[in-house]
């Protein structure tokens, strides 16, 4: 009983739902900006492309960029971990079961979403938060984020100041197959996250355009517009 939403929802039938709470939105934008900073500085750290001449004592290019990378890494780590914690504290659109499909309904929604993306079905199955397919994809992204944090900490540990508690993370080094492999994984992870960003922005624009429900705006405002039917279906799911 999936209502087609080819046209904008008439104002009389439009219900505004608070989907993304403030912590979710703050975490989201912290992650976005920290990834952009991390990717730019990380790319330089892997391939120092700025030419510096003169006395070494007059410059600190790599040093400065590494420090920016580490500060951005702190923001990124805290934002990702906060968001993971919020999966167990936030509203139903932020919860962990939005990412890992556990119910029959969510699995069905995953299948229907795949049909939509493959042009088999014309309109996306109605959901308010993430569709089940997107949610599952995001759980992989969280996995990549954790691997980035882990490899980053493993590489940072040996260069942390003597006596720093960060040195403790050296225990992670063998888990990633040694520092050179950790470096390679960290590098590949950056590209996966950048590729994901391309997909994520496109999918958001697509869904926003075909559902007319302010998906794009929702990550700033926190609100989406839905029909009474969709809202009723979602409440059923949470009651089940």
């Amino acid at each position: 009983m999936s209502a087609a939403l080819a046209r904008p929802i008439p104002e009389s039938r439009r219900i505004r739902v608070r989907v993304w709470e403030l912590p979710v939105r703050i975490a989201h934008w912290c992650i976005v900006f920290s990834i952009l900073v991390l990717a730019a500085t990380g790319f330089y750290i892997g391939h120092p492309f700025i030419s510096v001449s003169g006395m070494a004592r007059d410059h600190f290019v790599m040093g400065t960029i590494k420090v920016i990378h580490f500060y951005a890494a702190i923001v990124f780590t805290l934002a990702v971990l906060s968001r993971l914690v919020w999966m167990f504290m936030g509203n139903r659109y932020a919860r962990w079961n939005q990412f890992i499909p556990t119910s029959r309904r969510r699995l069905h929604n995953m299948y229907e979403s795949l049909r939509f993306y493959l042009f088999i079905r014309r309109d996306p199955p109605p959901v308010i938060g993430h569709n089940a397919l997107a949610g599952a994809a995001y759980s992989v992204i969280y996995g990549i984020c954790l691997v980035m944090i882990g490899t980053g900490l493993a590489m940072y540990a040996p260069q942390a100041p003597v006596g720093s508690p960060m040195r403790w993370f050296a225990f992670l080094i063998p888990f990633f197959g040694g520092l050179p492999t950790a470096r390679l994984i960290h590098h590949i992870g950056m590209w996966l996250l950048l590729a994901f960003m391309v997909h994520h922005v496109y999918s958001s624009i697509l869904v926003s355009a075909v559902e007319h429900n302010a998906t794009i705006e929702s990550i700033v405002s926190g609100n989406k517009f839905v029909t009474p039917e969709t809202l009723a279906e979602e409440s059923e799911e949470s009651d089940a």
Binding site: P48, V61, R121, Q159, G178, P180, M190, V198
Partner: protein, 367 residues
């Protein structure tokens, strides 16, 4: 064996002055990161120390560690310590041969059981029931079990013995493994990795044992922390150029001649733990980075697989041809994802334009 005064006699016989001996003790104290006053105590203690009994086994090796250890330059105090230690068995340097030599080895194992030190150079092959490396009719694995199993301590000298090294590099045709993996549960296993292991570190390790009557603190790979506790990068003389952003771009370029950082030439100093920048090689003459060559990371596990290509920053992705690199793959992947979504968008728009008359058109295009 109460053999007091052996060292004094040896020094006198070799014409080494007391002054030179104290200087040696000072340098040992420095390597072990002990304060200067300890040097005098070291001198006293070494003189009174018992003469340790050592057997040196060679398996799948190139004898490079032996070469490093013997150092064919002027005789030094270290050389006396190392050579005049009761070295009861060493294939490369011993005069005995055949059964006579083997008898000396097994006599030591029997007479000094639980008291001698086993030094092992080279990896141990496990393939073909150990047939790839046999000495006197016994496989390396059998010898290691017997000799290392009865030793007070086993020192795996060089990366092959410590981590498998070059024989264990992919595809590892002989099934080579490190000593610690070949004979699990060895008492006091100490890995002194690097290709070859630095003689200064081997000497310092023995001096530590002789004077402190115990083995030094080890890292997670069982390497002595005094030698493997810090990244090469953190003590590198070119570090200022790294932080400034000044790098060698090509062999022999202006930057190379200025002694800039070798990071972009694939230097593995940032991922390798050893004290090379401080101790250096060949009696402090120089070390690889000091003469313009990047570190190849020889002291780390699996260095032949993990640190290659030596002159590039990242290792090769398994399964990809040599010459491709992560950035090309990553850029290509990002572009491909972008193109896929652009195409998806174009189809979506086209579909909507075509299908706008018919309203619901589910399944129309799927067939």
């Amino acid at each position: 064996m109460g053999n007091h005064g052996w060292l004094t006699r040896e020094l006198k016989a070799r014409g080494v002055s007391r002054r030179e001996f104290v200087k040696f003790c000072a340098s040992m104290a420095a390597i072990l990161a002990l304060p200067p006053p300890v040097a005098a105590k070291l001198a006293d203690t070494i003189e009174k120390a018992e003469k340790p009994t050592l057997v040196w086994l060679e398996f799948q090796d190139c004898a490079g560690n032996t070469e490093s250890f013997l150092r064919a330059s002027r005789p030094t105090v270290a050389e006396i310590i190392l050579e005049k230690i009761s070295l009861n068995y060493h294939e490369t340097v011993m005069a005995a041969a055949g059964h006579q030599a083997e008898d000396a080895l097994y006599k030591t194992v029997k007479d000094h059981a639980g008291k001698y030190i086993a030094a092992v150079e080279g990896s141990i092959p496990t393939g073909a029931d150990g047939a790839y490396c046999t000495v006197g009719g016994k496989s390396a694995l059998q010898i290691a079990r017997e000799v290392c199993g009865n030793a007070a301590a086993t020192i795996a000298i060089g990366t092959c013995a410590a981590f498998g090294g070059i024989p264990a590099a992919s595809p590892n045709p002989t099934g080579a493994v490190a000593v610690g993996d070949a004979v699990p549960g060895l008492k006091n296993l100490i890995n002194v990795s690097a290709c070859p292991a630095n003689a200064e570190n081997i000497t310092a390790l023995l001096v530590y044992y002789m004077t402190m009557k115990q083995w030094p603190p080890l890292d997670q790979y069982r390497r002595p922390l005094f030698a493997y506790g810090k990244l090469i990068h953190d003590n590198c003389e070119r570090r200022a150029h790294f932080d400034a952003g000044q790098y060698v771009e090509a062999w022999g370029d202006e930057e190379h001649r200025h002694g800039y950082c070798l990071y972009k030439m694939g230097c593995k100093g940032p991922v390798t733990f050893q004290n090379c920048p401080v101790v250096r090689w060949n009696e402090g003459t120089n070390w690889p980075i000091g003469c313009g060559h990047p570190c190849v990371g020889c002291a780390e596990p699996n260095f032949w697989d993990k640190m290659t290509p030596f002159y590039r920053h990242l290792e090769n992705i398994p399964g990809f041809a040599v010459g491709t690199n992560v950035d090309k793959v990553g850029l290509g992947l990002t572009a491909a994802v972008g193109a896929a979504f652009a195409a998806h968008g174009a189809i979506e728009i086209a579909k909507r334009k075509l299908g706008s008359g018919s309203g619901q058109s589910e399944g129309k295009k799927g067939e």
